[in-house]
Symmetry: C2
Subunit: 317 residues, 2 copies
């Protein structure tokens, strides 16, 4: 399932998830426009079901399965928003969701997966242990693997954000999403350029996990980056098909420091009044940092999620 | 300007403020619905211009003035959201806004008033000192007084929230707002009952500033309550015309403890993903507390504002 989806696949995804997903609002702020010197349109996926855009991709994957496949359930390895999103999506179809979680995962996130109806499978925290456990669960149950980003159904689901946003704010000149594994950035690039080939596309990446920026510069996938960033949603290496889509659609990646991201996060809270997680704020940090690339333009920014620990905000650390 | 407005006045206010105010979204949360056992529709005035509903009333007052009156500016005494809202509203008409602020007011709030173009006039922190300073500024400048709540133009402006909300969520059975001075609660009651006489109307009041609840119970205005609550926006005594409207429209006031309000605020942040100030959360606290009065009903809750000090959240104190 790692070939790239096309615009038609994104449109199919939009129809498939429509009964389940939230059409999230686009918010504006005069104060933030003034700070950026640009017209900013914030697509609030923090208000998506499960508190993150991940529900779109997971939901499209779950409803893309045949009845026979679906009956055996779905499986993934993710202790973050994707695991929770897959459990929520599986519940909309009444099927099992197996979520492989590494030791040391945050208890609140595990509780959310269980509340959503998911079954937890614990393993050691290495990538190898996760994949082995995932394969074991697949072998035992026959569940379909739904990878968090290197999956065409997931990319297509995330791409529905661009369809919605371009309907809500048709006059955009540019669009920016965070880049982690690249499921969102690739899906949005495919959908946005499918509709509007002239749109300028950007990604925002933490400087401490800048493998996508390096990979695009080197024109090959760099896998040697050891992520070191507070942006827990953006630590994954960009996937192979995802990188291919970023390259094909000339997505320009802007890297931002954690300090810049935390300052941007605080501004989103105080001015836009939105609870967003730190990874979400990279896009606004990038617009403030690479000012000259956005000045005077109409920019769509995808705020990816709002699942935070309110007792441990990064600016009070 | 303290007679009560009617529905026509609220409709006039809506037309008057339309070029300047934000049509705020109504948000839902499956998790909060499940907690309350009711269908909750949150009217997000934290997303209003200036971060609070107060802009509506201030803007209606400013644009209700004749050109001659407007040329002399407006004046009020408020160190909180109303002062800021009046400065913002005056700026939309290009007129002066004089804001009398007591010693000890929060510097961040004063900065916001100045940024909005307002002129600060400092005085001692007693009610008498504020009123004296306000009268002095009026005498010197001829500015029109815009009282934060005991003013028909202000009440009519706040009432526009009900017009909007009933258009966005026409099937509501009940509606609840916080009660401080009562400008919001009275304006909303007049507008909501003007459109839908069968709607059940509620107010939420901090137990430590429960003068409206006591006044309605005693059928006379009780002015002996010394406010003791974290809800800084709800410490004012309910105004005379405001109380009259609450009584006429049979608004039922539910009192909530500060602990209940802080817990509700935290849920609004974590589940609805909205940055709301503590006074806003009284409405959700009341719905959770007086469960039997809301269970199974479609309830509109007005979230009044989102101006908070992110470095001093009440649950981390």
């Amino acid at each position: 399932m790692s070939a790239l989806p096309d615009l038609a696949a994104v449109r199919d995804a939009a129809a498939r998830i429509a009964p389940h997903a939230t059409v999230t609002p686009v918010l504006r702020s005069a104060a933030l426009d003034a700070l950026a010197g640009a017209e900013l349109h914030f697509k609030c996926e923090n208000l998506q079901r499960g508190g993150a855009f991940k529900f779109r991709g997971a939901c499209n994957a779950v409803w893309s399965l045949s009845d026979e496949e679906a009956a055996r359930g779905v499986v993934t390895h993710s202790s973050g928003n994707h695991g929770n999103a897959l459990a929520l999506a599986a519940a909309t179809r009444g099927i099992a969701a197996h979520v492989v979680v590494p030791e040391g995962a945050v208890q609140a996130k595990l509780d959310a997966i269980v509340r959503a109806g998911g079954t937890l499978h614990r393993c050691a925290s290495t990538q190898a242990a996760r994949e082995a456990k995932c394969a074991e669960v697949q072998a035992q149950t026959g569940a379909a693997l739904v990878h968090p980003y290197a999956d065409a159904r997931v990319m297509a689901g995330q791409g529905t954000i661009a369809l919605e946003l371009l309907r809500q704010a048709p006059e955009l000149d540019a669009l920016i999403t965070p880049v982690g594994g690249g499921g969102l950035a690739s899906g949005v690039a495919i959908a946005a350029h499918g509709l509007r080939p002239a749109l300028a596309l950007f990604g925002a990446e933490p400087a401490g996990a800048d493998d996508a920026a390096r990979s695009l510069a080197a024109d090959r996938r760099i896998t040697s980056v050891l992520p070191d960033t507070v942006c827990d949603g953006l630590r994954a290496l960009v996937g192979e098909p995802n990188l291919e889509a970023l390259r094909a659609h000339r997505v320009e990646v802007v890297t931002v420091s954690d300090a810049e991201t935390i300052a941007a996060m605080r501004l989103l809270w105080s001015e836009l009044k939105q609870v967003v997680e730190v990874s979400s704020a990279t896009v606004f940090a990038a617009v403030l940092k690479a000012r000259e690339r956005f000045a005077g333009r109409r920019v769509g920014l995808v705020l990816t999620g709002g699942n935070v620990d309110l007792a441990a905000l990064p600016w009070s650390a």
